[in-house]
Symmetry: C3
Subunit: 138 residues, 3 copies
C-alpha cells in the first residue's frame, strides 16, 4: 500500500468564499503515483469546509444566502464569542457543508460523475488556513 | 490491496425519493471478495445523496417535510435558475443529507449497528443517475 | 494492509451531550500499530453523530440551541412517532452533524489541524450505544 500527503494553503482575503480545488487535488493524485484507492480531502480548520458540488456562480450565491439564513453572522449572537471570537456562525455553516470528502481513485483519476467538483468553503477567512490531501492505495 | 468498483443506476419516476440500497451494496461487497477494508458509497450527481439512517416510512416523511422547510422547491427562488435549471433546492437538500458514506468492512460484511441502512436520496429525479460503490481492502 | 476494529460504548445519562472522544480514538490508533492509513470513526446508531469541531463549551451550547431550532424535540411533531418513538428530532439533528469522520493517519498519529477534536454527539441518550473505530493501513 502506498500513501501520499500534501497540505494545500489558502489565505482568502474575504470572510467567506468558495474555491474550486479540483485541479490541485488531481495534481496531488498525479504526484502520488496511486492508481486505485481512496483520496481524502479535509479542511484542517473548524470554520472551513471541503465539499463537492457544481462549479456554477449562481448556485454559490444560493449557498451563501441559504447558509446566512440557517446560521447568521452575529457578533452578539453566540456563546462561543465569550472567548473573544466572532466566528460562531462559521462553525455552524461548516457543519452543514461538511469537513471532508472521500473520493474514489480509479485508473489514476478522481472517479467523478459529470458535474462533481471539489470546493474549499471558507467561512472565516483573512488568515492562512490549510486543507489536507491524503491518498492511500496502489 | 484489492479494489472493486461498480456503478448502481437509478431512474426515479418522481422528483424526490429515498431508496434502500443496502442489499445492492452488500451484493457488491460479496462480488468483491474483500473481507477487511472500507466501502465508499457516493452519489455521482450533485442533486442526490447517499446517507445512512432508519428504514421507516414515517421518518422518511419527516425527512421530506423537514428538507422542504430548510430548502424549499421554488422555480423562481434561486440564482442557479438563471442557467435554465429549476433544481436549486435539490443542491441544498443534498448538502444537508450528504454526498457519501464510508462503511467499515469486517469479515466480509458491512459493519453496521442494529438499524443502519444505506439510502439513495433523490432530490431531482425523472432521469438516469448513478451511485458509485468503491471498495478497497483485502 | 493491516486493519483494526474497536467499539467504544457510551451510556449518556441525558438525552443530549457532546463527548470528546479524541483520546479514545488515539488509543485505538496506538493499539493498531498502523502508521499510515485512514481511520474511520462512525456512530453505529442513527440518532447519534460523530463529528469534528472545537472543544469549547460555549460553542457546544450554540450547537445545542441551533440544532433545537433546526429540528425541535416534539413528541407530537413527527410521523416517525407513530412507531411509538419520540426521537424524530434526533434522526434529523444527527443528519445535520453527520454520521462519521474519516481521519488521515500519518506517522502513527491522527493528522489534525490545530483545533480539530473528535466528538460523539448524542441526541437520544439514556441507553447504551456504540461508536465504531476502524483503521486500515500499514
Amino acid at each position: 500500500m502506498k500513501s501520499y500527503r500534501k497540505e494545500l494553503w489558502f489565505d482568502i482575503p474575504t470572510r467567506r468564499a468558495f474555491i474550486n480545488i479540483t485541479p490541485d487535488v488531481q495534481a496531488c493524485l498525479d504526484d502520488s503515483g496511486i492508481h486505485e484507492g481512496f483520496c481524502l480531502v479535509n479542511a484542517m480548520h473548524i470554520t472551513a469546509s471541503v465539499f463537492i458540488n457544481d462549479d456554477e456562480g449562481g448556485l454559490h450565491q444560493d449557498f451563501e444566502k441559504w447558509l446566512e439564513e440557517l446560521a447568521p453572522f452575529d457578533p452578539d449572537g453566540y456563546q462561543h464569542h465569550r472567548t473573544g471570537e466572532d466566528n460562531g456562525d462559521a462553525h455552524l455553516k461548516r457543519s452543514v457543508m461538511g469537513r471532508e470528502v472521500v473520493v474514489a481513485v480509479t485508473d489514476g483519476r478522481l472517479d467523478f460523475g459529470p458535474w462533481e467538483q471539489i470546493f474549499y468553503g471558507e467561512f472565516d477567512g483573512r488568515r492562512r488556513k490549510r486543507v489536507l490531501v491524503k491518498i492511500i492505495g496502489e
